[in-house]
Amino acid sequence: MANMAQAIRLALHYGEEHLGVTDIFGEDVGAPLGGVFTCTQGLKTAWNTPLDERGLIGMALGIAYGGGKPVAEIQFCDYIFNCIDLLKLCGNAHWSSAGEYHVPLVVMTPVGAGIHGSMYHSHSFESMATHIQGWTVVMPSNAKDAYGLMLSAIADPNPVLFMAPKGLMRAKGEELIPGEPADERALHHAIDAPVGDRTGWAPHWPPVEDYRVPFGKARLARQGSAVTVVSYGRALTMCTHVADDLTKQGLSVEVIDLRTLYPFDEQAVFASVKKTGRLLVVNEDTEVTNFGEHVMRKVVDHCFYDLLAPPRLLAGLDVPGVGLAWGYEKHSIPQPDGIAAAIRELAAQQP
């Protein structure tokens, strides 16, 4: 099964061939590296940029104005914070020109912790990102969704932020992408650049097909009845593991994978909370003015009288960074044991 990096690469390839992608670019995105996570290896429109994130987002906006379809990569979301004004400009071009212009562009960036990345390869970005208007914000938790969300992102005529969890880039999918060869090694030989000299290498693309994950539609990752867990990205994978464990122990946990963070699937979340009466939101971003608090607010607005316990957020600790030593990361980023404890506590609370 393709891992997430391969799935993104396949989606970008599909985008180049069928959806009009004209430029895939960023720091080390072109040959020979093809991206620090290999997401852009072998793509025909991929190119390397100067080391300048502001120039990068400016270029994306300019290409979109000029009739192209750009996919710009910020190497790590940790380095996107000097561009917030430009992201805002992308997001307000349509509104400010009252419909005269729209800008079909995708910004993709790896997010989150889990790779021993220390202070500047562990950042999350969803809280700031969802506060920027005019964007659609997505984050897959598995390879197939990464493929389907990227295709939707490329096809969308508005700015889309595609965040891929750093810690899941090498995680293999559990389902084949339509058109993906069943043999994992065949895929590897066909599309992964060789170690060492890459001059002369060219990928052999499998005939991947159109497969879209629609925006604003969550995925029911686990069905359950006692507690609703809302998550996405790497944290979601922890949540499903924990849910499986707890279910074995007799605690039935429902897990919702948002996939689209903005606009998030309110109906799916509300329906689940109305059923379970208990909500836990889990993500890696720091906890003050955290996107999960937005989800909670909406739930409180719509499901207050269905709640059997106070809804809870489990998020990153409010510290200036994730430290290198594991002791720091373990105690500042949600881990399975903490998630399990929070679910148990929620389930145990009686109104």
């Binding site: 300019g62 104005y65 509104w95 212009y101």
Partner: protein, 332 residues
């Protein structure tokens, strides 16, 4: 839509008079905006009186049209002479000044002189200083690929060149073998709001910042439309055909101060309009009476325009959520 060849207008007598006419068109439009500000028909004014001698020739020399075969314009908030010279209607500028629903550039959302005209490749003017310099290489890349003579024109002030985006623009336009057709313009009025440029920037000739990037550059007297015309034509010729960037600095005046925030009073700086009129008379291209008639005509146009604008509808609640997302087909 390819237009691989394009012949710019020539500076004959008719054009010289046309430049005057358009300079007056721009001046009277903005003076009307200032009046609207004073009489409560608008909240804020910012514009370009004093930059007409540069802005009008620029507008006339633009290869106007839609798509990468034509010029893209990444303008700032002192570009009304350029946009009016390109053929926009004064009444539309008044509409944006007043914030009416009929404002074609932003439906009453943005400040005055923040244009967005897609059929002419004028991308939305942003209130954020200098960001346009980081965006222009993007349209220029599409033009480089498309071939032909279309270029990307970006304008801004002098103080704004202190933002890193000015350098991002230069850097992205000079990648070896990937040079881009960008005409960088700097309208140097010696001020950033209240701060004299000479106190915060070590060169008056900010075009020289291009030296370190190997970008050709020049500084001109932007108060003389004839000088400006030739300089712009030459710079454009280079950018169009060499497909490389160029920096053109025009030294201009700021006749009504920074904006309505500083009162929009007449300042004692050289005014390009009387200077040009004296020349037209001296060269026997016109008479004082003929020139006055131009002013009168535009004053009438603007008077009528204001009357019309005052009758037009204003945005209300139903308009707030329009155009947050485009829901049509992908692509431009």
């Amino acid at each position: 839509m390819t237009a691989t060849r394009w012949t710019p207008p020539t500076l004959d007598e008719a054009t010289k008079l046309r430049i005057h006419d358009l300079m007056v068109k721009a001046r009277t439009t903005e003076e009307m905006q200032i009046r609207m500000m004073r009489t409560g028909h608008g909240y804020f004014w910012i514009g370009a009186p004093g930059e007409e001698a540069f802005g009008v020739p620029l507008g006339l020399l633009v290869h106007k049209g839609h798509g990468p075969a034509y010029d893209y314009l990444h303008l700032h908030y002192r570009s009304s002479p350029t946009v009016l010279a390109m053929g926009s209607e004064p009444i539309d500028a008044l509409r944006q000044m007043r914030g009416t629903l009929t404002d074609p550039y932003s439906k009453g959302r943005n400040f005055v002189n923040h244009f967005a005209i897609k059929p002419w490749n004028i991308v939305p003017v942003t209130p954020t200083i200098e960001t346009q310099y980081a965006v222009a290489p993007g349209t220029a890349l599409m033009q480089r690929r498309h071939g032909g003579v279309g270029i990307s024109i970006v304008t801004g002030g002098d103080a704004g060149t202190a933002e890193g985006d000015f350098y991002s623009g230069m850097n992205w336009s000079t990648r070896p073998g990937q040079e881009l057709p960008v005409l960088f313009c700097i309208a140097h009025n010696t001020w950033g709001i209240s701060t004299p440029s000479a106190t915060v920037q070590n060169f008056r000739e900010l075009n020289k910042r291009g030296d370190g990037f190997g970008i050709k550059n020049v500084c001109i007297d932007g108060n003389d439309p004839i000088v400006a015309w030739h300089a712009i034509a030459e710079a454009m010729d280079y950018v169009r055909h060499e497909r490389k960037p160029f920096i053109l600095q025009a030294n201009v005046s700021r006749l009504y101060g920074h904006s309505s925030s500083s009162g929009a009073h007449m300042h004692d700086e050289e005014d390009c309009l009387p200077r040009y009129e004296a020349r037209l008379i001296q060269e026997n291209l016109s008479t004082a009476a003929e020139l006055k008639a131009v002013w009168d005509r535009w004053h009438d146009v603007l008077h009528d325009a204001l009357q019309q604008v005052e009758k037009e509808p204003m945005p209300d609640q139903s308009h707030v959520l329009q155009h947050v997302y485009y829901r049509g087909q992908a692509g431009n």
